[in-house]
């Protein structure tokens, strides 16, 4: 059964967005002549959406000359590899240190791009041209990200259709679907990671959101196929695969529930599970098949899962391990000071940690990849159980997906700070529906986005990241507050205090610290502070979301009883 509280409503695909009532609002409302809401909706079929999408695309174009990270060279190298070499050598080639470590679909995607790239600048397709970045190369690579984002834009549109337009008659700016469109299209994290730092997350998240939207529209097979394709583009999405697996089994393969909402095995549809299996196998065969035939599967897997890297990235992603490392370091310092520990035994490397990849724990036990795997699985399990035993339709699935993403972010091995987007973007969908989720979303996005700041460390990009961050934060706070005006404040005083303290932290890290004498002695302090401080907020958001999901399903059960 579907609880009535589920605020999502499926709108058949292809039906126009609910007509903005502003267009037919009484004269009094339109008297301003050029009321933005009335104007933007134009004929009423949602003229605001293209404007939003076009606007952000043009902003992306303006970001073309900004700084780009080594990921730019990574993708250039992949263009060259896939363009020049036969498939059999893609996962063996190692001229550059940035070897191909994404699944085959992404390699094919690069191969396709390379055939356009040759018209821009054939030099970028030479494998030996390491760190080649002519203007045409930059232009081509940046434009390829901007243009493939079309898929993301389409997916956002589909997601907006899944959001109920129950507030029809209100101002356009206060409609959930408008807010959602802005929160997704103008997402700060996606803008700086893709269009400044340089990566192709846009169309990948587009695939994910599209598959989520398809599940909301009850087009399960399509959703499953899209997700399978996505997995073979970038395997980091495997973090959220449990949510997909369990949801499809529970709510698609099991066609009915018992009256009390519990499992009814007799309704298990073998046709449906066969179809699902077929889709997954077909997609996998298409992607991995050639490499299995070539006998390169082990090599491919060793490239995709490089466990040789450290527990934490050079800059600690703000997760549980950042806190763990910080506690370890604090204990070491205290220990040396009060002579519990022998300073001779402490390696020098440990004290400058945060800059080196391998981090040696001095007091607490060191963490192995296996331990992180266990932690991740254990932290994911409750949410998956919740999805299995207390299904709440697509909404429950989305919650589980977010919890999976957040849990693996918290405990995963060698997690990048960018992975927080995996939780932030789907959470946007929930945030416009309920005040509780909106509050959570504000904490998670603000801290999560702030933790992305160290990605851009060059002086010319400093104003951009601050301006864009302010833009997004001001919008998300004011729009969600307006949306849930009747529900009282979204955040309590402690949460507000925590978020406000990010401002002095940023001022300290970017302005005070570089001018202070500690810069040379303790260069890792800003990164450490940012990481640990954000880790607190993200951990808090994770716990709060978990508690909210688990208690909510308890209340649902009570209602049923």
């Amino acid at each position: 059964m579907r609880p009535a509280t589920a605020a999502f409503r499926t709108v058949p695909a292809g039906s126009p967005l609910p007509v903005c009532a502003c267009a037919v609002a009484p004269q009094r409302f339109c008297q301003g002549g050029c009321d933005m809401a009335v104007a933007a909706t134009g004929g009423g079929s949602g003229g605001w959406f293209p404007a939003l999408a076009l606007g952000v695309s043009l902003l992306k174009c303006l970001l073309i000359p900004t700084y780009h990270s080594t990921d730019f060279e990574v993708h250039r190298n992949w263009l060259a590899i896939t363009h020049n070499l036969p498939v059999s050598q893609w996962y063996y080639e190692a001229t550059s240190e940035w070897t191909l470590d994404y699944p085959p679909f992404f390699a094919w995607f690069e191969c396709a791009l390379s055939h356009i790239a040759k018209y821009f600048d054939p030099e970028m397709l030479v494998i030996q041209n390491l760190n080649y970045a002519s203007y045409a190369t930059v232009l081509f690579q940046r434009l390829s990200v901007i243009l493939t984002d079309t898929l993301f834009i389409y997916a956002v549109r589909e997601c907006c259709r899944c959001v109920s337009g129950k507030r029809i008659g209100k101002d356009l700016l206060e409609k959930p679907m408008f807010v959602l469109a802005v929160l997704l299209l103008w997402n700060f994290g996606l803008l700086i990671v893709d269009h400044i730092h340089f990566q192709y997350n846009g169309f990948l998240f587009g695939l994910m959101l599209l598959s989520v939207a398809r599940l909301f529209q009850e087009r399960h097979l399509e959703g499953a196929a899209l997700f399978a394709v996505l997995l073979h583009f970038k395997h980091i999405y495997i973090y959220v695969a449990p949510a997909y697996g369990v949801y499809l089994l529970r709510s698609y393969c099991l066609t009915e529930n018992k009256a009390d909402g519990s499992l009814k095995w007799s309704s298990f549809s073998f046709l449906r599970i066969t179809l699902l299996g077929l889709i997954v196998c077909l997609v996998s065969a298409l992607s991995l098949g050639p490499f299995i035939v070539l006998g390169q599967l082990p090599q491919l897997i060793s490239r995709l899962f490089p466990f040789k890297r450290g527990l934490c990235h050079a800059y600690w992603a703000p997760n549980f391990w950042a806190l763990y490392n910080a506690v370890d370091k604090a204990l070491a310092v205290i220990g040396v000071k009060y002579k519990f520990l022998d300073p001779e035994k402490m390696q020098k490397a440990a004290m400058t940690g945060g800059l080196v990849q391998e981090f040696q724990h001095t007091v607490l036990p060191s963490v192995t990849p296996f331990a992180t795997l266990i932690c991740t699985v254990v932290s994911i399990l409750p949410s998956v159980f919740c999805l299995w035993f207390k299904p709440q339709g697509p909404r429950g699935f989305l919650q589980c997906l977010i919890l999976c993403a957040l849990s693996s972010f918290m405990f995963g091995w060698h997690v990048h700070e960018k992975a927080i987007l995996l939780a932030i973007l789907p959470l946007s969908l929930l945030s416009v529906q309920r005040a509780k989720d909106a509050g959570l979303y504000l904490i998670l996005t603000t801290t999560g986005h702030f933790s992305l700041f160290p990605l851009l460390f060059t002086a010319p990009e400093l104003p951009i990241k601050i301006l864009l961050m302010l833009l997004f934060t001001v919008y998300s706070f004011s729009s969600l507050r307006t949306l849930f005006r009747k529900n009282g404040p979204l955040l309590n005083w402690l949460e507000i205090l925590y978020l406000t303290a990010l401002v002095p932290l940023e001022i300290f890290c970017e302005i005070v610290f570089p001018l202070s004498p500690w810069k040379l002695k303790l260069p890792f302090i800003p990164l450490l502070l940012t990481s640990v401080y954000c880790a607190l907020g993200i951990t808090y958001a994770w716990l709060k979301l978990y508690v909210s999901v688990l208690t909510e399903s308890a209340t649902v059960r009570q209602k049923v009883e």
């Binding site: 050029c34 009321d35 902003l59 833009l471 919008y475």
Partner: protein, 469 residues
């Protein structure tokens, strides 16, 4: 959403676009020996910081006026001095006398860009916000959309943050002037007039005081400011003289003195109607339209006009964008297009495309300009009533206007693309800039007519206002 959140978002968007444009190239980057306006501004900092004030405008062994000599009024010089003092704190090499000529580096670029950015933030942007907040009879959202459109006007952004100049300071002050005038409009009387006169004189005195030591000083400054010997027009500017020179080489036929008189006569005649109308029927609305009309007359007909002077026209047009969104947007697009040759020279093609399209998108979305093409929306009601009887075939007016707009936009787009991609024929190296100038000039002439018609046929203004009051 409340007003201030929306306004903050509009300002932040404007600032973001400004900073992204400023990451690009600037005028004369890496082009010795003369470089461009960027070097001019840096050189002024060097001169004002190192030389005593009585040498600023004089040709001395330390101050070669042939190399970007100061030719702006004293307040600009003081501003350069202020920037120079800050530059001195960061890196004295940036303003070393003689040694810093042609200095270019990433940190220096960042510094120079930051000075423009901060000046914009302190002077121009607050003025725009204040102006939009004080707009009468408008909803919050309309105020915010006006602010957003004005802040995203590409011409000013590209020239200040791309090409490199401090127009936002002077335009910002102009806007503050309009703002204070319009707030006191109802009270405007003899006492206020005297007050204004006193203020103006006092302000002038403050600026000029250091130069009042001897008559020669003042004369020299004036000579520098009004450089008559430079000729009727410079480069390829979209005014009437440059466009006419395609047909007649006026510069060669007539003596410079006659040119001066001719341009003066034309300018005077073209701004006369607007001024007379405003004197006879003063109103705030009439004042704004008269500002546009006068500025445009000066741009089209006066002596020694730069392509950047079109910004002086754009500012008043920005002020009436909420009244005639369609025509204002059109004008602002043409004005940006008219500076295309300059922007191409500076390597700002990408920023030009991005900001112009963004501006068009924002205007379309927030004012739905395409649905506001009727005679009434264009403020041509009274004019059309008086003329429909004679030209009945103009009935489907909105459609004609809309298609004219589309044709014009397409033409500008195509010309932009051609000038950016194709090489001109060898015999005619200036072919594309001339095209751009002539096309823009034709637009501007029509706009001048339009603005004058709106102003002259505007009957409802003063009397109606008095009635309602």
């Amino acid at each position: 959403m409340d007003k201030w959140s929306l306004m903050t978002i509009a300002v932040l968007l404007g600032l973001t676009v400004r900073w992204t444009v400023s990451l690009g190239s600037y005028s004369g980057a890496g082009k010795p020996p003369m470089y461009g306006d960027y070097e001019a501004q840096r050189h002024w900092q060097e001169v004002t910081y190192n030389l005593p004030i009585n040498q600023w405008y004089f040709n001395t062994s330390d101050n070669n006026l042939q190399y970007w000599g100061l030719d702006y009024p004293p307040l600009t010089a003081y501003h350069s001095l202020l920037c120079a003092c800050i530059a001195k704190l960061i890196n004295p090499d940036w303003i070393g006398l003689h040694t810093s000529r042609g200095y270019e580096s990433q940190p220096h670029k960042l510094f120079m860009r930051a000075t423009v950015f901060i000046a914009d933030l302190l002077v121009y942007i607050p003025a725009v916000i204040m102006y939009c907040c004080y707009l009468k009879e408008t909803s919050t959202k309309k105020k915010v959309s006006t602010a957003l459109c004005v802040l995203l006007y590409p011409g000013l952004i590209l020239i200040d943050h791309g090409h490199f100049q401090y127009n936002s300071v002077s335009l910002g002050f102009a806007l503050w002037g309009v703002l204070f005038l319009s707030n006191n409009w109802d009270l405007l009387g003899l006492v206020l007039l005297i007050k204004i006169a006193v203020t103006v004189v006092a302000a002038f005195a403050m600026c000029w005081l250091p130069f009042c030591t001897e008559a020669e000083q003042i004369l020299q400054v004036l000579r520098r400011l009004f450089a008559i010997d430079r000729g009727l027009f410079e480069d390829k500017v979209a005014n009437i003289w440059c466009s006419l020179s395609v047909l007649i080489k006026i510069k060669n036929i007539i003596s410079p003195q006659t040119q001066l008189k001719l341009s003066f006569a034309f300018t005077f005649l073209s701004l006369l109607p607007a001024c007379i109308k405003l004197t006879l029927q003063p109103s705030l609305r009439g004042f704004k339209f008269a500002l546009v009309s006068c500025a445009l007359s000066f741009f089209l007909f006066s002596f020694q006009v730069h392509e950047k002077s079109v910004l002086l026209v754009s500012l008043p047009v920005c002020l009436i964008i909420n009244e005639i969104p369609f025509m204002a947007t059109w004008f602002l697009l043409v004005s940006t297009f008219s500076m295309l040759p300059l922007l191409l020279k500076d390597g700002l093609l990408l920023a030009y495309i991005g900001t112009t399209l963004a501006f068009l998108t924002v205007c379309t979305a927030s004012f739905s300009i395409f649905e506001k093409t009727s005679a009434e929306d264009l403020q041509l009601k009274s004019f059309s009533l008086s003329i429909w009887g004679y030209i009945p075939w103009l009935k489907p007016f909105p459609k004609i206007v809309k298609s004219l707009f589309l044709v014009s936009i397409t033409l500008m787009g195509v010309l932009s693309l051609i000038s950016a991609t194709l090489n001109p024929p060898q015999k005619l190296p200036d072919l594309f800039p001339i095209f751009v100038s002539v096309v823009s000039c034709l637009h501007f002439l029509i706009f001048l007519m339009y603005f004058n018609i709106v102003l002259l046929w505007d009957s409802r203004n003063s009397r109606n206002q008095k009635k309602t009051n």
